[in-house]
Symmetry: C2
Subunit: 234 residues, 2 copies
């Protein structure tokens, strides 16, 4: 991508058959709908895609089929999160080779209690970034018990220039404002998420894009497009 | 297994090479050590095995290689947890076909916040149990944010007779005592876990086995073997 990704980048839900197997054709129809709605990009295999319900083989098949369906018409972000930096890096390289414009990765965690300290989080994202040439969207979401305080995100962006960020924790606008103030243009985007429920304050705080589900992408895209860029000086 | 599994059933750690790939040969040596130490059974791919650091293919290769190494000399429990009941059932069937004597499964959850209500937990374990003929050890561990209160575990055992249980949450002895009192012999075992740090009170409360890591299996096995059966009437 020449210019940083901005605008509305919906998450593509995975469609399942009644027996809970993946409906690749049905999922491709959702991609068609989101492109018709004017999405600026698409995100695959995120939590709204129920990525935690899929086998490794199904993740791979979905990413491949949906990237083929998009056929380069829009930038596509593929979520490649895994507890192991080795596995996340391998998944990220495979996504790039399939045509992804960016990968999205949560910090490493498992369950409610297994967390990773800040320096290891930075090493994790270095290992992922070193495996690819495309950007890495760090996903800061309430599902992860591994915390990403502003100070850690600032260190991460300074040490791993490929990093972009999606902030969807409580008080997202405060965090976006702090990041935009500290990092300016060295943090491209940033995005909010969490159904865009705090979109207006997030845009005012410096967000340049939003990653909602697939419900009202056209309307959300129009808001991002017309909203004046009024965040911290960039 | 003719008789219910009791005693010490250590979790086999996964051995990794320096580049973080799986060392199958090294892991097989740990199996040899645990059998030499007199373990009553072995558990594969649990959280102490760092199962969250593995790909699906690596899980499969480890289970296959280690079951071949044991060669039927001991009962082997294979952990087959996955958020999706469909995937957990498929993994469990594959484990049975490879020679597992039991599978171990956590309730479905993802991250710190995505939990599943009680009736869906029962449906989940029904779907897993229906796919296999061997028992299912329900793992009640602090890593899971999906709660398993005593009342739910009692309903689960009553509705899914294949269920065994490993209790390793805080106040494990209280929970084991409540389960043993309510269920008696219809809950075979039960086991504690969490490094056997509360083994004595857990045995007094009705535990009949312990699932520690691989550090002192011989010593823990001797304690379980000599401890008088003093729990609630069974």
């Amino acid at each position: 991508m020449a210019a940083p990704l901005t605008g509305v980048v919906p998450v593509v839900p995975t469609i399942f058959h009644d027996d809970e197997t993946v409906d690749l054709g049905g999922t491709a129809l959702v991609v068609d709908y989101l492109m018709d709605a004017g999405a600026d990009g698409l995100c695959l295999l995120a939590n709204y895609s129920e990525q935690f319900s899929l086998t490794d083989g199904e993740r791979d098949a979905l990413a491949r089929a949906l990237l083929e369906r998009v056929a380069g018409r829009l930038p596509v972000i593929v979520t490649t999160s895994h507890y192991s930096a080795r596995v996340a890096a391998t998944r990220s390289r495979a996504a790039q080779d399939m045509g992804a414009a960016m990968v999205m990765v949560m910090p490493p965690f498992f369950g409610a209690t297994l967390t990773v300290p800040g320096p290891a989080v930075i090493e994790y994202f270095k290992q992922v970034a070193d495996a690819i040439d495309i950007p890495v969207m760090v996903q800061d979401a309430p599902l992860s018990p591994t915390p990403l305080p502003v100070s850690l995100l600032v260190d991460l962006v300074n040490q791993v220039p490929q990093v972009h960020a999606k902030i969807e924790v409580p008080q997202a606008a405060d965090k976006l404002h702090a990041l935009a103030s500290a990092l300016g243009d060295s943090l491209p985007g940033p995005f909010d998420g969490e159904e865009s429920v705090t979109l207006i304050p997030d845009l005012d705080a410096g967000a340049r894009g939003t990653m909602p589900s697939s419900m009202v992408p056209a309307e959300l895209g129009q808001i991002v497009a017309i909203w004046p860029v009024t965040g911290p000086a960039r």
